[in-house]
Symmetry: C3
Subunit: 203 residues, 3 copies
Amino acid sequence: MLLMLYLIAITAEAMTGALSAGRRGMDWFGVVLIACVTALGGGSVRDVLLGHYPLTWVKHPEYLVLTSVAALLTIFIAPLMRHLRSLFLVLDALGLVAFTLIGCMTALELGHGMLVASISGVVTGVFGGILRDIFCNDIPLVFRRELYASVSFAAAWCYMGCIWLKLPAEQSILITLFGGFLLRLLAIRFHWEMPKFHYNDEH
Amino acid sequence: MLLMLYLIAITAEAMTGALSAGRRGMDWFGVVLIACVTALGGGSVRDVLLGHYPLTWVKHPEYLVLTSVAALLTIFIAPLMRHLRSLFLVLDALGLVAFTLIGCMTALELGHGMLVASISGVVTGVFGGILRDIFCNDIPLVFRRELYASVSFAAAWCYMGCIWLKLPAEQSILITLFGGFLLRLLAIRFHWEMPKFHYNDEH
Amino acid sequence: MLLMLYLIAITAEAMTGALSAGRRGMDWFGVVLIACVTALGGGSVRDVLLGHYPLTWVKHPEYLVLTSVAALLTIFIAPLMRHLRSLFLVLDALGLVAFTLIGCMTALELGHGMLVASISGVVTGVFGGILRDIFCNDIPLVFRRELYASVSFAAAWCYMGCIWLKLPAEQSILITLFGGFLLRLLAIRFHWEMPKFHYNDEH
């Protein structure tokens, strides 16, 4: 089931990446690259930081094909995308939590402690979007809109909590997925935001 | 011969990197760093992604000396550079194809399949320029002008085709170099471009 | 003593990272992430480039806690920060030289030569700041103000010189720390700058 979710998540993330590239007027090749970076970049950064080789897409190059096809498809159905915004927010929320879960599990399997595992989860969850914004020369959105990185962080610690309580693996995954997903949807619905820090040298 | 081409390529790429840094008014140290990143960054990203240690410039630090000297030289001959534009386009085209070839060969030697090898080639070919543009706070040019990343991609698959046809190694390299080089020059001459994807949320 | 200096350095760097994030109006989560990247990013880039696993913060996750706490503290004492500017410049200078030293020593311990070790020192010293500026969508400051990257480079070669002269380890460290620190303070005081390279295609 987690694999299923993962495939949906990388497809959805690839499509948001393709739209970002389209906002910058990139050519088709750029659209495909930004889509792949958005979908697979978080996991790649995690694996490079943890020294966990081979990377996911090196082991399963078919994921690259999936994200590339999703990116090209996005170009053709772009006019429809405006009507699918809600669907995308839902898929993206699912993806965020699924990525986070996979990141935590990867680090735990490698024998890392809970703190490193939670960082691994957040990196997997949010770095795809950060890389997308850096490549498109934007300030990363991740830290400027409704709870997003924080949802990833909360989901990571929810999963750690479940493990600490020695819940069965399946149950831990379901609780985390459901909890994180709900938190993200509530944050979107009620515009929950983290407090912001504004600093100005001039005063 | 491939080593010869590689040395010419990193020198030419270092000089384009130095000019980019000069457009941003960086100091000499920044010029040298941007030059090294442009020339050696593509191969470094590839090696980090594939877990292929040590990196090229760690094994051959003399390449760093070469690119640094090329960068400093660029500062002094900058007024001449305007008249050498065509020469640079030719060297850069050669470099793009040589980098791509080396990237493909590296991945194949590590035992990866053709899809991963072609990605490895494109990453080696274009990431130096992408990193240069990110460091200089530009939107990566690679995806906005005439066929460039696409030439790298085509060259990678041309080489894969040669291997699949079991042509001798030397012949495969020559065909790829010549074909890729020609394609890039034609793209520049006739302003061939990939179709662009423009997306606007506002409509 | 070097560990002590390292802890002071990552705290000071975390606080400068937090202020940068504040200038961009990021939320608390972003502030913590930028602080961690600024403080631990230089060493992480070095370790990834050299294939030196596990990374410092994976081995010592308590450093992440330290930098996160420093970042959150910065939010609350931000109004005071304006009066502490000189203190910060001093701590940052100490940090720059300490990072550089640690980077050189890490590479030498891994058996690399002096050229690679000096690059390792400079990368450790300046990449935290470069990543901070890339994440905040600024042109890296490192190459635009008074001698900074150059101080890191000079400190690296000062240390290499001490080793080449076969001075005892402690003495080499002290000479490098003091020399680099003094050079940076003099550069700030007298606005010493590297010459800049300005290039303009239009002429």
